[in-house]
């Protein structure tokens, strides 16, 4: 039994508007608002899953059927990604309960709630301009949250992100303008039908503008210069949210563009090559990092490179592997960030070499980090193994042996730098004079949820794959998507 899916966007906005008066009544209540609202979203997405798997759920807004009005189109892909976003948002919201306690904390929770709502809107909407509006909501809250600690480095990272992000918005807006000028519609399904009749020179320009714009959010090389700084300077839960929420929405937009809206076969090779370059450069940068969170940031970019490779293959199994990799990354990277946040806090230093011996001082925290590290570098039977295995074997099956070899090389580099950190955690003597306190229970619960999901996804990958298969099918065969939207307009 699910309520109208539009509530998943309406309620977070409503709650965000009401947080300032609530904060004046009771400061303590505000931090539970995101948990409650995103928890509702999570419930909705789980309840919708059986329906959207059968056929896309079309939600009309303002009583105007598509293409006249805006609509939400919740197919398997949108549903899965919104589920992932809500899940990560929910877990990070739990972590946030004891994380941000100083002023102006009500603004922190409000911005975080809107970040999640914006990303949810991006993956659910069926209208390209509406997607742009939600992208703006997501990215503006990201800029503010990056600089939230009001220190010099945070401000620099946020300003860099703001400049690149604004460039992305401009490109996307120009691309949408070209599309609207030539097709006369903003509904994604109808654009997909009409794009054939558009002058190819204009269509290619629109595609370039949109891929560049969304590529910035999806951390595609060479557009990812903002990511390492933003990830490492933002408050820890926000770094986790970037990896689990913002990037996922960006990759979704990219996939929707190249698979559903446009019809250029050449773009897939471009994405494949962009993916392998992204992967290699990110992994080689990661191994040279001295700071733990910066290393995780580069690793996150590398993981997205792998997802891009999978999407560039444009085969059923490849896309399935890519989606599985996105799922794994969305669960594991926040786990790594959230545990690394407390490791950094207790060691009093951001540097990897100061993490020595934390495994003895903080066993549970270090276990979560080590577990996440093993899962992400693909140690069987943990979940990262299955997605990497599918992507690599599919790359080889399609004849891109060189790319598979390079990706494997990237994975080896990844193993080296993750194991180096894990080794330091467990096999070195701890530094003197650590002021270790208890990790708040809410933070442990948050990490525990992610670790359990990772474990289950690793032991029973088919349980996840059952839901990813229809999502991959939605991307590869766009007729179902188009038909279900346009039928709703009749």
């Amino acid at each position: 039994m699910y309520l109208d899916p539009v509530l998943m966007i309406a309620l977070p906005l409503f709650a965000a508007f009401l947080i300032p008066p609530l904060a004046r009544i009771s400061k303590g209540l505000v931090k539970y608002v995101p948990v409650l609202i995103i928890g509702f979203n999570l419930y909705e997405m789980v309840m919708l899953l059986p329906h959207s798997m059968v056929k896309p759920v079309i939600v009309v807004i303002a009583a105007w059927a598509p293409p006249l009005g805006i609509n939400l189109t919740i197919g398997p892909l949108g549903n899965i990604l919104a589920l992932i976003i809500s899940l990560v948002g929910f877990v990070v919201a739990i972590y946030n309960i004891r994380f941000m306690e100083e002023e102006p904390n009500e603004k922190y929770h409000m911005l975080f709630l809107l970040l999640t709502a914006g990303a949810t809107g991006m993956v659910l909407t069926g209208d390209i301009f509406n997607m742009f509006v939600f992208l703006e909501i997501t990215s503006i809250s990201s800029y503010a949250l990056t600089a939230f600690l009001r220190d010099r480095d945070g401000a620099e990272a946020a300003f860099k992100y703001l400049l690149i992000g604004s460039l992305a918005s401009t490109f996307i807006l120009l691309g949408i303008a070209l599309i609207y000028a030539t097709t006369g519609t903003l509904n994604m399904a109808q654009i997909a039908v009409r794009i054939k009749d558009v002058d190819p020179r204009i269509a290619i320009m629109a595609l370039i503008l949109l891929v560049t714009g969304f590529g910035i959010e999806a951390e595609m090389f060479p557009l990812n210069g903002w990511a390492p700084d933003a990830y490492s300077q933002a408050p820890t839960p926000i770094g986790a949210a970037f990896g689990g929420i913002v990037v996922k929405a960006g990759v979704y937009a990219l996939a929707r563009l190249v698979y559903t809206i446009f019809d250029f076969q050449g773009i897939f090779h471009f994405i494949l090559i962009a993916g392998i370059i992204t992967l290699l450069i990110a992994e080689m940068s990661a191994i040279r990092q001295k700071q733990l969170k910066r290393m995780l940031a580069f690793s996150s970019i590398g993981q997205m490179g792998l997802v891009l490779i999978a999407l560039g293959l444009a085969t059923t199994r490849g896309v399935e592997g890519g989606l599985f990799q996105m799922f794994n990354h969305a669960m594991i990277k926040p786990l790594l960030f959230l545990s690394a946040g407390y490791l950094v806090f207790y060691s009093g230093s951001k540097n990897i070499e100061d993490m020595d011996g934390m495994g003895r001082v903080k066993p549970l925290l270090s276990f979560f980090f080590a577990f996440g590290a093993f899962a992400i570098l693909g140690l069987p039977p943990l979940s990262g193994f299955w997605s990497k295995f599918i992507i690599l074997s599919e790359t080889i099956r399609n004849g891109f042996i060189a790319i598979a070899a390079l990706a494997l090389f990237g994975s080896i580099i990844e193993a080296v730098y993750y194991l180096r950190v894990v080794g330091r955690l467990y096999f070195k003597a701890p530094h003197e004079g650590l002021h270790v306190q208890y990790v708040p229970k809410s933070a442990l619960v948050a990490m525990g949820i992610l670790a359990i999901i990772t474990l289950i996804a690793g032991l029973y990958p088919d349980f996840v794959m059952v839901y990813l298969k229809p999502a991959a099918a939605e991307l590869l065969d766009k007729t179902v998507y188009i038909k279900s939207v346009l039928m709703a307009g009749l």
Binding site: A16, A62, E103, G184
Partner: protein, 228 residues
Amino acid sequence: MRKAIAVLFLGFIGYYLLSTFLLVPFGVVRVLEGVGLKYLQDGLQQTGAANLVTSIVVNYRGFDTLGEVTVLFLAATGMGALLYSKRPTERARQNASIIVKTGARILFPLIIILGAYVFIHGHLTPGGGFQGGAIIASGFLLMFMSYRTYHVNHVILSRVESSAGSVFVIIGLLGLAYGSSFLANILPLGTVNTLFSAGVIPLIYVAVGFKVGAELTALLDTMLQTVK
């Protein structure tokens, strides 16, 4: 050398963009295809708003407008969070001359009335909530500039902001409860070209007007507090 390459690169991108945009015929009526035509033909009957732009912004694409309102809210909140300080710095700007001060005092109420007029008549004449709100904020800016000690009450502004935003969502939710979908019109359309027409459009635009006015005013005040 690097600068020269950068300029060349930008020039190349600019040329390519321009040449593509020139492929789209300029000045030719292209609304005859696509959704534009439907808005033109049926907009008046379907929404009851004499100002067709408003009926698209607030009714057909009202969901976007809710998003845009949130974007502005976010920008204001983010700015407030980043410029947050426990004790605001005292403004050390000079007082304006007596001419400016007197002029501002006379103009201020008129500017507020103009702003209110623009957003209340958003469904009839050009303008709307965003424009009206911006006009109101400009009135406050004039007062900030003229009077060194002029202060606005942030608690009241924040209350206006929150309640106006909530009204927008509540109107949407009422549409869901009593109509067919979120933001659906639930009020009678009335006679075209009268103040009480176009269903929920004027209500939404009044809320947007209050919200934008309060937000921009608060933003200006926050920014002015940080400059010495």
